[in-house]
Symmetry: C2
Subunit: 199 residues, 2 copies
DNA sequence: TGTGCATTGCACACACGTGTGCAATGGATC
DNA sequence: GATCCATTGCACACGTGTGTGCAATGCACA
């Protein structure tokens, strides 16, 4: 406990619980109101307003958190200077749990704060587009779609798989990785090898 | 003009214009209200209520129309008893314009009337899952995901491509077809051949 | 036993979208 | 010219979600 007092720690804990609960409530219904979010956390609506002045603030915080985590993974991986295929596979391995946790994100891009979320995601989109472009230049990714579109489709496919609500273990990161590699035009045998020979 | 009078024809026309305008308004923002829909049509809110008693009615009509058109194409194609690959390609060729027109559909599956829309789409989902299952049994589609999930991913990928808002002609049906075939695990060379050698 | 702070419970005011009622308008039809 | 009917413009009631204010409660700490 590096926090000064137990009380301040409790407040921080509540804040985190609100963030988690909001993620869960919004995951079920992207239009969930402050009341439903509060219920998911196990507190009263009034309490949530004690930590986040507006619903927009709460959603923005959530989105920023998601984007930050994804961007961190992406930039870290990008620095490793491997082949585009390898970079993508490594990225997917670390993206998968995030895609599960933040599956709201894709729904959030539409509706209400969509414009704002989209702006937050722009650097991520850019990095992905660059990566796919490098892959296309290296002839390891297909050219059936322009890089900026293809990267989006491959990216959203991962979230689509994460969103398919199957018993988590039944699908797993490998399936998502293989699927996204296929979208990118990687031959299935190679996709399977890349996905499995990762550890 | 097979309608009895010119006035009745005008009313029918207004109804169709409302449907079209609603499709466009909801395409931009799935949460568009009756006011925004009316504006998109070029009439007043009150007029829309003259044709559709509630917003839910309007949305339901739209969704039913979309599902009906898709289901019609699907059942017609399915009757042609070709190979799963060929059936899928034919389906995609005819689905593409619909995916453009009804790109709202995917957004509508979430939020508010999601449950209802989902129920409407169930027969379509079932047919697609069956088709993909046949493809997997014939070893022409991959098994990286179970058929019910894989069909959904491939299907939504088409809508994702349609939704990518690129100059329509710049992408085209072929790219969408190839992409969905890749998702299904069809080798890229074969996917390209199938998509191009269609006419 | 007091003090502090997080949480609660209820009270509002407010904005917004929905759906309805009704009189007025204006163009096409007879 | 009289009539019909789609459309309009404005009125309203209603529900729902948001955000705020304030007193009451209760647990922890000193």
């Amino acid at each position: 406990m590096q926090t000064g007092s137990a009380r301040a720690g409790a407040a921080d804990d509540t804040r985190r619980r609100i963030l988690d609960g909001a993620l869960e409530a919004l995951g079920r219904d992207p239009d969930a109101g402050m009341g439903e979010i509060a219920s998911a956390v196990g507190v009263v609506r009034r309490t949530v307003y004690g930590y986040f002045p507006t619903r927009a603030d709460l959603v923005r915080t959530l989105a920023r958190q998601a984007v930050d985590e994804i961007a961190a993974v992406l930039s870290e991986i990008n620095a490793s200077a491997g082949s585009p295929e390898r970079v993508w596979v490594d990225f997917l391995a670390r993206l998968w749990p995030l895609a599960h946790r933040y599956r709201v994100l894709v729904a959030l891009r539409r509706g209400e704060y969509g414009h704002e979320i989209h702006a937050l995601l722009e650097p991520v989109d850019q990095s992905l587009a660059d990566l796919v472009q490098r892959g296309q230049d290296a002839e390891v990714f297909g050219r059936h779609l322009p890089a900026p579109v293809l990267s989006q489709i491959a990216f959203s496919a991962v979230f689509a798989v994460a969103d398919s609500s199957l018993p988590d273990a039944l699908i797993g990161a490998d399936a998502a990785t293989v699927t996204s590699l296929l979208v990118l035009g990687v031959p299935d045998a190679r996709a399977r090898a890349l996905a499995e020979g990762h550890a």
